[in-house]
């Protein structure tokens, strides 16, 4: 009788691997070397092409180079999605581990393959479950400070355009307009950021007939709503 039913049989022949899943956080060194060493080399080679030699990470300059190779603008949402996929922590910089993470997940190791994989990535990210995670990520990605918890209005306007511009053009245009005109709020918090996403998904626009001031929409959206109503009158 097997002691644990979860242990797959075929792995018994390899004494060093622990599980059969791919998302191993601490893979044993030997398994890594045994596994697709060919691919790893490819990813690192690619990485080194764009990385800054002294700092050992891909810096903004490198990313620009990468973008021109991929034939996308560095303000294209696909780059942000790539950052999300690799769980990049610092805007403008890709570390080796992050790079590897993304390329591995996308199953690519050359620029050509990466370029091809980008539209698929976008499709995947746009799935509702992923998108809200991506949306929150894009906000946090703007933090330059460890203790930071809000983002300035100007950055928000650009970010909104990039992240929601294609799906909620109207809402983004009006809201960005409002943000620029008002002077009560100088920064946006995560709660307000997510609130706007919910607003786009739930509220009929531009009628906003199903919006209510009595509910718990963030105050900034209440003000936005009232401002819109005044304009429509």
């Amino acid at each position: 009788m097997p002691r644990t039913a979860s242990k797959p049989k075929k792995k018994r022949s390899k004494p060093y691997t622990v599980t059969s899943s791919d998302t191993v956080s601490v893979p044993s060194a030997s398994s890594e070397t045994k596994k697709s060493s060919k691919e790893k080399d490819g990813k690192y080679k690619l990485f080194n092409k764009y990385a800054n030699a002294s700092s050992g990470v891909i810096d903004p300059e490198g990313i620009e180079k990468l973008c021109s190779k991929l034939k996308v603008s560095h303000t294209d949402i696909k780059i942000l999605m790539l950052a999300w996929k690799m769980k990049s922590e610092r805007q403008g910089y890709f570390t080796k581990a992050e790079w590897r993470r993304a390329l591995k997940a996308l199953k690519v190791d050359t620029i050509k393959k990466l370029k091809k994989a980008l539209p698929e990535l976008e499709q995947e990210v746009r799935k509702p479950l992923n998108f809200s995670d991506f949306y929150a990520y894009s906000f946090r990605y703007c933090f330059t400070d460890e203790k930071q918890n809000c983002v300035d209005i100007e950055t928000i306007c650009q970010l909104l355009d990039m992240v929601l511009g294609s799906t909620f053009r109207d809402q983004v245009d009006h809201f960005v307009n409002y943000l620029k005109i008002q002077n009560v709020y100088k920064v946006i918090t995560m709660d307000q950021w997510m609130g706007f996403y919910r607003f786009c998904n739930e509220i009929i626009f531009p009628d906003m007939t199903n919006y209510s001031l009595e509910l718990a929409w963030p105050s900034i959206l209440d003000n936005f709503f009232e401002w819109m109503r005044e304009k429509q009158a």
Partner: protein
């Protein structure tokens, strides 16, 4: 008497019938006494008795019972009914009444004859009693035939009486008793054959009256008529109606005369509720209360009218003050609070007297005052106005302008008034600031009993936390005095040759003041400060003293050429003058450098010493304002007729109102935060609207929170990780432990 012979039934009946005829005859004659000859009575009784106790088959009880029934039936049908049916109108009633009386007597005697049946036969067989049988016969043979006509006559008579005619009340009483009795133990016959129609008639009668009266009469007149009508109807019941009719009659009359016309009546232009209040018609108002009190929800329109009137009066006062302020006069605003208090007292009297202290009217008064007591006049909120009022009140009291009772009464009124003001925290802030000034600058004028009385009363109404700082301030003054005694006692010599008195304040209780610790004091004063500091250090543990030179007073002797004069000055003024002990002339620049005072403060001081009423210093050039290039010189020629003068200095032009509002706003933010966290901690999960409404409720004792502010605080608490939105429903919050 024992008879050996058996009485035959027919025989016995013959005897009976003779007796019955005799009875009938006697009744017809209507002599004052209806008396059967005792011998005959006994004979009849005995006959029946014997017929009952005879042995079978001569035991005639059953047949006798039936015979009884036949007799009463016959009497009712053949005697009573025809007589009644012949008559009409009132005569009908009279005949009916008469015949009814006869019937009762008839039945009484008959029952005596047949009494033996009652003892054994009837109970044994569980038959209806003799009286029941008789009553039933009367009902079926007489009552049912004549009741409609009788009812019509009775009601017609009642109508006549309502119009003022005199009617025979005993007659009606008797007739209606027939209706009642015909119910045979229930009140049904009376209700269905009479009462129902009476109520209908009453309704249409009063409807007619109401529509006429409401047009022709003023409100008081109408009420008097209504009261009269109710009184009469109640009397009617005691005179001849059955008692159960009273409540129904009263209800109808009230409904028609008072309820359906309530709006029209109360709002009558020249005599309605507001007119009565305006003209102080307490009798009429009391009547109104009396009339509407028994009616369910009847008092509500009256209380409403009262509330609207009082609110109007209050609003008028407010508008008066607002208009006057717009035209530049602020006097109205100052006397406004006093006027509102007077208004409150006036209408409280109404509530207690005319409206018998009823809670509805207390509530109406409260709501009326809440309407206008929260309006602003000339930019000042009512909270500020009341605080100003208190300030002048207590400043006056030092001059004994008000007797102790009058003062206490006014204090009571102010505390009551505070209950109507929603921004109670603003009042407390203003009050505290003014209290501080009174305690620090006018302490010899302050009447401690009055001040404490106000604080105690406020505490009783609003709670200890509300008054804790004020109490602290008053206690501080007391402690400071005692501490000062100790300090004086400890000194062997005057530090710097000066009599120093220090008041130590507890920072937490007092409003925040700007300190001026950088001020360069003259040597003598420095000695004073040091002396006190060391004494204080021996008496307390590690406490830091912050010196408020801006709030001190100094008595300085000016050695002027004509004569020395004592000057009562602020510390700042004294410090400036002391500089001139070393040199005769000083420039503005020199003064400011040596002292380290701020420019604004120094300008005020120099103005008071060189350009105002008393020229202690001479200024070059002798203009009316201070410039930084001016030069000042000690005016040795200065003199006055008095030996001591107070050189006043105007207070710095801080916008106190703005500061108070800012401080209160900040406190409110903390209060809202604390409230939200407290609620969420206990409830764990709560939808947005409920959180907001609970928050409002909890805070309403102190102030009326702005919903938008609450929303903002919630969002702030989300960002600070005290709450979070529920993952499934973003309009519900979860407490983050």
């Amino acid at each position: 008497m024992y008879r050996a012979t058996i009485i035959d039934f027919e025989q016995g009946c013959k005897c009976l019938e003779a007796g019955v005829s005799e009875l009938k005859r006697i009744l017809e004659e209507e002599t004052s006494e209806t008396r059967i000859d005792p011998k005959q009575y006994l004979e009849l009784y005995t006959t029946i008795y014997n017929m009952c106790i005879q042995k079978h088959p001569h035991d005639h009880s059953q047949r006798l019972y039936n015979k009884y029934h036949d007799i009463v039936e016959h009497y009712a049908k053949k005697t009573v009914l025809p007589c009644v049916q012949q008559k009409h109108d009132e005569y009908l009633l009279r005949e009916l009444s008469r015949r009814w009386d006869h019937y009762k007597v008839f039945v009484k005697w008959l029952s005596h004859f047949f009494n033996y049946l009652e003892r054994f036969f009837i109970p044994q067989r569980n038959y209806p009693s003799l009286l029941e049988v008789a009553m039933k016969s009367f009902r079926n043979r007489v009552y049912l035939e004549v009741q409609v006509n009788a009812k019509d006559v009775v009601i017609a008579l009642i109508d006549k009486e309502r119009e003022g005619a005199q009617i025979d009340m005993e007659l009606l009483k008797n007739v209606l008793d027939i209706f009642v009795q015909s119910g045979m133990g229930t009140i049904e016959r009376y209700k269905e054959d009479f009462e129902m129609f009476l109520l209908e008639e009453t309704e249409s009668y009063y409807a007619r009256k109401a529509s006429r009266w409401i047009q022709e009469c003023s409100c008081p007149e109408y009420m008097i008529k209504s009261e009269e009508s109710l009184k009469k109807e109640k009397e009617r019941v005691t005179h001849y109606l059955h008692s159960s009719t009273e409540s129904k009659l009263v209800e109808i009359v009230q409904d028609i005369l008072l309820v359906s016309v309530a709006k029209h009546l109360l709002e009558k232009e020249h005599s309605g509720c507001s007119a009565l209040l305006r003209d102080d018609k307490t009798d009429d108002l009391s009547r109104m209360y009396r009339l509407y009190h028994p009616i369910p929800k009847g008092l509500e329109p009256v209380a409403d009218a009262f509330r609207i009137y009082v609110a109007r009066e209050g609003n008028a006062l407010i508008k008066q003050a607002q208009d006057a302020a717009a035209n530049g006069s602020l006097v109205e605003a100052q006397v406004l609070v006093g006027k509102i208090i007077d208004l409150h007292e006036k209408y409280m009297v109404y509530v207690m007297d005319c409206f018998k202290n009823h809670t509805l009217f207390h509530k109406a008064l409260k709501e009326a005052f809440e309407v206008f007591c929260n309006k602003k006049v000339a930019g000042s909120s009512s909270a500020e106005l009341v605080a100003n009022f208190c300030d002048s009140l207590f400043k006056k009291s030092g001059n004994d302008k008000l007797s102790d009772e009058a003062m206490e009464a006014t204090i009571d009124n102010v505390v009551k008034l505070l209950d109507y003001i929603s921004d109670k925290d603003i009042f407390s802030e203003f009050y505290r600031k003014k209290l501080a000034r009174r305690l620090l600058f006018d302490h010899h004028k302050v009447n401690k009993e009055h001040e404490t009385s106000m604080i105690t009363k406020l505490k009783r109404q609003q709670g200890g936390q509300y008054t804790s700082k004020m109490e602290g301030m008053v206690t501080d003054m007391q402690l400071a005095k005692e501490f000062q005694k100790g300090f004086k006692g400890s000194l062997t010599a005057k530090p710097g040759g000066i009599d120093l008195a220090v008041t130590v304040l507890n920072t937490g209780f007092w409003p925040s003041y700007k300190t001026s610790t950088d001020l360069n004091l003259p040597r003598e004063m420095v000695e004073c400060v040091e002396a006190f500091k060391s004494y204080y250090g021996t008496k307390t543990n590690q406490r830091k003293l912050r010196w408020l030179y801006s709030h001190g007073t100094c008595h300085v002797i000016g050695s002027f050429d004509p004569k020395p004069i004592e000057l009562v000055l602020s510390t700042y003024q004294a410090v400036v003058l002391c500089l001139f002990n070393n040199t005769e002339r000083l420039t503005y620049q020199e003064i400011i450098e040596q002292l380290n005072l701020s420019h604004e403060d120094l300008v005020r001081v120099l103005l008071s010493l060189s350009c105002a009423k008393y020229r202690i210093l001479n200024k070059e050039p002798a203009s009316k304002s201070i410039s930084t290039t001016d030069v000042f010189e000690f005016n040795s020629k200065f003199t006055s007729t008095m030996r001591r003068i107070k050189v006043s200095i105007p207070p710095p032009p801080i916008d106190e109102r703005k500061k108070v509002v800012e401080d209160v706003d900040q406190d409110r933010r903390y209060a809202i935060d604390a409230c939200i966290v407290r609620i969420m901690k206990s409830r764990k999960v709560l939808p947005h609207q409920q959180l907001v409404s609970q928050c409002v409720e909890q805070l309403s004792r102190m102030f009326k929170p702005d919903i938008k502010m609450i929303k903002k605080r919630i969002e702030d608490l989300i960002t600070r990780d005290y709450l979070k939105r529920d993952a499934k429903n973003h309009h519900i919050f979860n407490y983050v432990a």
